[in-house]
Amino acid sequence: MTPKIISESALAALVANLVAGQVRVIAPVRAKDNPEHADYLPIRRLEDAAFNGPLPRRSLKEFFLPPTEVLLRYRQHKDGVDLEEVRTTFPPQVILGARPCDAAGVEILDKVMGWDYRDELWFGRREATTIIGLACPGVDDSCFCSAVGLGPDSTKGSDLLLVPCDGGYLAQAVTPKGEALLNKEPLQAAPDAAAGQTVEALWQGPREKVAKNLPPVPSTLPEWLAKSFNHSYWNSLALRCHGCGACASLCPTCHCFDIVDQHEHYDQGERRRNWDSCQTGKFTLHASNYNPRKTQSERFRQRVTHKFSIYPQRFNSLLCTGCGRCARVCPAGMNLPEILGELTQLAGTEVKGASE
């Protein structure tokens, strides 16, 4: 399907129609506490959205894997236990103005959520959601989406991608869901012709800007990491890491979770799954007090290895979208793009050294 140009007013009408039809529309919105920040929040009309604002503080992950969610409810009585199932179907929602790094994170996680055992809570929300991505101008020096095979105009994870252009937005359908949306009123009224504008040409500037931050991660990195578990690089790397897990909370692709019972009254409660992080000391702690990952360096190695070796070797995709949030938020200055640059160099020298 050829791209078409959607005017600002057509997009505003779309939001109005969706909201009137009881569809939840989520978009980046300037934070009430500080307009220099933004969050993905429900909007009532297009002007509530901050398309040109800062990168939202948290990724889109929480709309598919909430920070905490009920898995079941139980009630104990003298004859046993009654269980109440939670629903795995969800009302429709549209995410408008998703950053390409955030949209990509959702698609990357489909793999782990769907292999063999299908996580109905994840896919129930996935099916109910349409993601409209918005090309990103590039945030700052911590961005490195182009180093992990994506880019500021990447379509991965979006059903429809909008690229700002003369006259509004150049709209490119990516999935049948996106195509269906593009064929709906009021977008149908938009002119089909893109007047010679292409995504390629429109977004060359941001692509070049982001590419300067970090060269592409080499395809040999997953294999090198798998072999370099005992490399001395890891030993002192995480001495300054607090193990707070803020990086994992903000990460679009960190998906580790805990399952806990929340007992509420004397006879009833909920089983919940809560976000967790491999950076905390208790993550792998056995009940016997044995811990396979005793030091923060071992835990940090796990985070890097999971993203750039374990996941790619298993699911053929890096577990990172280059959003840079982990580097920006870290109170101790752990910097993943910098670390990736160093690992890439090490891998390059050692692979070269071995072949000589």
Partner: protein, 276 residues
């Protein structure tokens, strides 16, 4: 159905194995679930005490006994201590069976040596009874079992039963200092007991479960006896939450213990980074 929704099971019987290990015999409350339930020796489940949470235990009974499952649990953490407070008739949650299993089909027609230490006998017990229930299909069966002290030996009634059998050889020992005046077995560490048992490696499989230190010193003995790495089996006991390859907790290098394991050959273990 939501993946995380457990089946309900009733505690039918509780057996005290040691001062802190109990075996729970469980039956599905829903007869349809009971009729459809199948598993293989080596698989595990997520057991829950409602209000306390879920824990991962192997299924310690054999798949040849279809009416129930058993798990043997050491009281060490939040869920296992809560489990200890429950009586016969109480309701538990169960998700499973999960994970891979011992290669029973490949083992048919061959000899098997089972080596276990302490509560490590639980996963092995499922396979031992599976093999003994189909005894004609296997050659020699040797069981080598040890614990720190006499009180720590689990499944004492079954050990007595195995000792009586003419179609299986049982070697049992307690660590030096762990014997009681009436102890009739050996006083030795498991690797030493294994050397004494000296099972033949020809056309044989070895299955080893126990504390890491025992496994560490037992493997060289097996190698010396001539067992190749791909016929030595063990299990990894990583902390798990989901059991189904989602929660990211049990990774050892590229391996999801919950899906690729918990049963591994020594050959596979040697490929893994020291992250367990």
């Amino acid at each position: 159905m939501n993946l995380y929704q457990p089946y309900l099971m009733r505690i039918e019987e509780i057996t005290d194995e040691t001062p802190d290990v109990r075996t729970y015999k469980l039956k599905f409350k829903d007869p349809k679930v009971a009729a459809d339930f199948n598993f293989a020796a080596g698989q595990f489940g997520e057991y829950s005490v409602f209000g306390e949470g879920e824990s991962t235990f192997c299924i310690a009974s054999p798949p040849t006994r279809r009416d129930y499952i058993e798990c043997s649990v050491k009281s060490v953490g939040k869920v296992t201590q809560a489990l200890r407070r429950l009586d016969v008739g109480a309701t538990l949650g169960f998700r499973g069976p999960y994970g891979n299993s011992f290669p029973l089909e490949q083992m048919k027609g061959r000899s098997i040596v089972f080596i276990a230490g302490g509560i490590g006998l639980a996963p092995v017990r499922s396979l031992i009874w599976n093999v003994l229930d189909l005894r004609d299909m296997f050659k020699d069966v040797t069981i080598v079992y040890g614990a720190r002290k006499v009180a720590d030996l689990v499944y004492k009634r079954e050990l007595a039963e195995w000792a009586q059998r003419t179609d299986a050889k049982l070697f049992q020992a307690v660590d030096p200092g762990g014997q009681t005046p009436d102890w009739k077995g050996d006083v030795a560490l498991v690797p030493v007991l294994l050397e004494k048992a000296a099972p033949k490696a020809d056309d044989a499989f070895a299955v080893v479960c126990g504390p890491p230190i025992m496994i560490k010193f037992t493997l060289p003995v097996l190698t010396k006896l001539g067992f190749p790495d791909d016929r030595i089996y063990t299990t990894l006991e990583n902390r798990m939450k989901c059991g189904i390859g989602k929660c990211g907790r049990c990774n050892v290098g590229p391996v999801y213990v919950c899906k690729d394991g918990p049963v591994f050959t020594l050959a596979q273990m040697k490929q893994l980074p020291q992250d367990f």
